[in-house]
């Protein structure tokens, strides 16, 4: 375990943005479950999914992986165990 990057303001900004995008995606998912033919909503969902991916990528390139088991890349050296851990931020 080595010291990772300390969470700065941008860390929380990106995290908040991720949280917001994730919430919109949850809402749209539930909505689309009952409205599968709503073209506009599907488009919006895909847009948000794309944005989420971009933000997650920006976050991971600065602060390390969000997911494990191949869903995120790791920098060298292996940085999964770096702080801050989720309950430390």
């Amino acid at each position: 375990m080595s010291d990772g990057k300390k969470p700065d303001e941008a860390y929380y900004q990106l995290m908040t943005e991720l949280q917001q995008l994730d919430f919109v995606l949850v809402e749209l998912t539930l909505y689309l479950d009952t409205h599968p033919y709503d073209m506009q909503a599907v488009q919006q969902f895909n847009q948000f999914a794309q944005r989420r991916r971009q933000v997650a990528q920006a976050f991971e390139s600065r602060y390390g992986p969000l997911l494990q088991f191949g869903h995120s890349y790791s920098r060298y050296p292996w940085d999964w165990s770096d702080t801050p851990w989720p309950w430390q931020v």
Binding site: T16, Q20, V24, Q40
Partner: protein, 105 residues
Amino acid sequence: MGLVFVRLPPIRAAYPKLEQSCEEEGCALIPVNQIRTWRPFVGPFDPCPPITRKAYLVPPNLFIPYQPPNWPQFPPAEALKRGTLWPALYSPYESRMLEGRTQGP
């Protein structure tokens, strides 16, 4: 039991913040009055001073069997804060548990 009983709030004054924010953002869809009240039975031998009116919350989704498409939406930041993407489904909850108490539970 899914009902949450709260102390009786003054109905119009229950959500002053909500009405304000509605004017600011110009959203016409936010429902204002989601609180209903009822008068519970008061027994003659009740050792405690009776609560003559109790209130419960009626969330808007109860009256929307099928959500129409293309509803106006909150921006993502506000959606996260309010717990819904659509203003028409927004239901505020403010705890009144400790209202009128000066100390302790």
